[in-house]
């Protein structure tokens, strides 16, 4: 039997926390060995998608398939054989590593949880190459997390995530808590490991510059829904959705000469509440191009290449409106 071609298939995923509609109908496919970045601002629901995939929370509706297997509602016991296939790296390594455990125990924990009984010597033999693979010395196994720097701790998290040889890695803002120079080394490490091992990756982030560096495909999320998906090249060169355009124009580039000639699209400050999202298009309350139809009709997804954009103004040939032509004073009024 040939292995299933897609590492991850999410279909119509819905996650409501009481009245909060954190994720409201997200569909996303990641083929084996590809890196998809899930981009959005705080409160967009991007982390909740990641948590649904590793089943830290059980989705309200929709399905999550890992290599073709539906894991959406599997019991803890039935889920266990699939646990090793998906790993997660969190944003803050200080909070996601148990301070009372030695690094060696932390890295080996997924093996223990998979029910494998291994001797201490075997464990050390398994852990040492993992640590070396993420650029740490094997002696680090006998240290506690607090003895390490932030960048080293994040490397430990990555080693722990990869020891079960997962097919899919969820990386939830893995570099956001790190300094610029350390961030570079962690991004390089993730890129190297991904290329060498070939796992698929869902890279969750708000940082567009990191996305361009690492991702093959990009999915842009706004208030619980995807507004645009596509290849990295296409999204950066020809973003179709007004929100994607605004995001790209708002992120300042580290080059004063170019930055001076760019005009950021200023959106109003207020991200609407996920308790009561706007009718029709959810972005319409901040969109400089919104018109009557946006309030009454949910925009359909227009196919663009392998991806899509959900906006009334995107034409069937995949060309979108240009948000920069709108008068910014109308947005702020």
């Amino acid at each position: 039997m040939t292995p299933h071609p897609n590492a991850l298939e999410i279909a119509d995923l819905v996650m409501h926390f009481g009245p909060v509609r954190a994720v409201d109908g997200v569909s996303l496919t990641i083929p084996r060995g590809r890196v998809t970045a899930l981009v959005g601002e705080s409160g967009s629901g991007k982390s909740t998608v990641g948590r649904c995939v590793v089943r830290l929370v059980e989705p309200t509706a929709g399905t999550v398939r890992i290599a073709g297997t539906d894991v959406t509602h599997l019991s803890r016991r039935r889920l266990r054989p699939h646990r090793g296939a998906v790993s997660i790296v969190f944003q803050d390594p200080a909070a996601s590593l148990d301070p009372r455990m030695l690094v060696g125990e932390i890295v080996a924990e997924p093996l223990r949880l998979a029910g494998k009984r291994i001797s201490r010597r075997d464990r050390d033999a398994r852990v040492a190459p993992q640590l070396e693979r993420v650029g740490l010395r094997a002696e680090v196994a006998r240290r506690y997390p607090h003895e390490l720097s932030g960048g080293q701790r994040q490397r430990v998290s990555i080693a722990r995530a990869l020891i079960s040889e997962p097919m899919l890695l969820i990386a939830d803002e893995p570099t956001s808590a790190l300094d610029v120079s350390v961030q570079a080394s962690v991004l390089n490490l993730l890129a190297d490991l991904q290329r060498d091992i070939g796992f698929a990756c869902l890279f969750i982030t708000h940082d567009l510059s990191a996305v361009e560096y690492l991702a093959d495909d990009i999915a842009v999320m706004y208030l619980g829904q995807l507004v645009e998906t596509g290849s990295r090249e296409r999204i950066f060169a020809r973003p179709a959705h007004p929100y994607t355009q605004a995001l790209l124009s708002a992120a300042p580039v580290a080059d004063p000469v170019r930055q001076r000639h760019r005009q950021p699209v200023l959106l109003g400050d207020d991200l609407p509440s996920a308790l009561d999202p706007p009718s029709g298009c959810r972005f319409r309350t901040r969109c400089p191009l919104a018109f009557d139809r946006c309030a009454t009709e949910v925009p359909a997804q227009t196919a663009i290449g392998d991806g899509m954009a959900a906006c009334h103004l995107v034409r069937p040939d995949g060309t979108g409106p240009d948000v920069r032509t709108a008068d910014p004073s109308e947005v702020l009024s």
Partner: protein, 338 residues
């Protein structure tokens, strides 16, 4: 940017150290910096480089255990060692602050109008009614829509970007000469950040406020600063006009920071980000050596034997503290300009 008029803020040889259980920690060592009227200076560096401590020390906001030496003159008035009563008159009126997380700086049980008004009642001896009216004007100034209604909101009713605008309104209420913004957009999303930076630029243009903006984000620096100060391990390692710094970084740390940041047009398949090996040192005392030497590709005996002075490295007002400054540092920014 050279201005004929005397600087509004003049920092000379400012040093700060803290006694701790395990010995003294030297946080800031000999920082000198001028801030001209209406100028926006960006201070950039990684965690622990002393940029926030420098900012806090300006108006005497550090805990009393901190040992501060050197000179900070605000319009000629010496602030280092000034009496608390004198500092109280200066804070808010002459020099004001905004911080990273607006929610922790705002009082959750008072309306934003009351909080802005309080500043005016204390410093300007305004009546409560006049202070409220002025608060509405200030909220409008910082771009809050329907300010007349928003003035009666509590902080929790506002978004993060709105709260930061309220903080800015409060900070500029008494028309300070200097606004110190310590990571003002770090907790905010990029679309909101662009708006906050625009407000800071507007204030400078309209009121002539000088701004010292502290950040770790080179994009923010490129967007808003006129001049840049790069700090490393408590010292200023490079200072230059913004264009010059990004195009021709001379200190190896600055060059490293620039090429460590992901840039538009770079992809992991074709490019690698430059890593700076090692860690920022925590220093008990400032050695007579370059503190970056252990992480620097060009370090030699001289770097470990003597601290490099901040010296002119060519260009206008461009100084760097390096024995072996980069001659050509091809950064991604430079290559893109070619």
């Amino acid at each position: 940017m050279t201005t004929a008029s005397a600087p509004v803020l003049e920092i000379r040889d400012l040093s700060v150290s803290f006694p701790t259980e395990t010995g003294t920690v030297s946080a800031v060592d000999g920082v000198s910096l001028d801030l001209a009227a209406g100028e926006i200076v960006g201070m950039v560096g990684e965690s622990g480089c002393g940029k926030s401590v420098t900012a806090m020390s300006l108006a005497g906001l550090l805990p009393s255990s901190a040992r501060v030496t050197g000179s900070v003159r605000l319009d000629g008035t010496q602030l280092v060692g000034a009496r608390e009563s004198a500092l109280r008159r200066v804070r808010g009126r002459e020099i004001a602050y905004i911080f990273q997380e607006p929610m922790t700086s705002l009082n959750p049980v008072l309306t934003v109008g009351r909080q802005i008004g309080e500043v005016l009642q204390v410093h300007e001896r305004m009546s409560r009614r006049a202070a409220r009216a002025r608060a509405v004007e200030l909220l409008t100034l910082v771009g809050i829509p329907s300010a007349a209604q928003r003035v009666d909101n509590y902080p929790h009713q506002l978004s993060g970007g709105m709260r930061q605008r309220v903080m800015i309104a409060m900070a500029v209420a008494c028309g300070p000469k200097v606004l110190v913004a310590d990571e003002p957009t770090t907790a905010l999303d990029v679309t909101v950040q662009a708006g906050i930076l625009q407000v800071l630029r507007d204030l400078r243009d309209r009121l002539g406020t000088s701004v010292l903006i502290i950040t770790h984000d080179l994009g923010v620096i490129a967007d808003i600063a006129d001049r840049v100060v790069v700090m490393y391990a408590g010292r200023v390692v490079e200072r230059a006009p913004v264009d010059d710094l990004f195009a021709h970084p001379r200190h190896r740390y600055t060059a490293g920071l620039l090429s460590a940041s992901p840039q538009p047009g770079r992809h992991a398949g074709t490019d690698r980000l430059t890593e700076i090996p090692g860690l920022v040192p925590v220093l008990a005392s400032q050695p007579d050596a370059c503190t970056f030497a252990d992480r620097c590709p060009a370090a030699d005996e001289q770097c470990r034997a003597a601290a490099p002075p901040l010296e002119d490295v060519g260009g206008t007002d461009h100084v760097a503290a390096c024995w072996h400054p980069c001659i050509t540092a091809p950064t991604a920014a430079q290559e893109a300009n070619r």
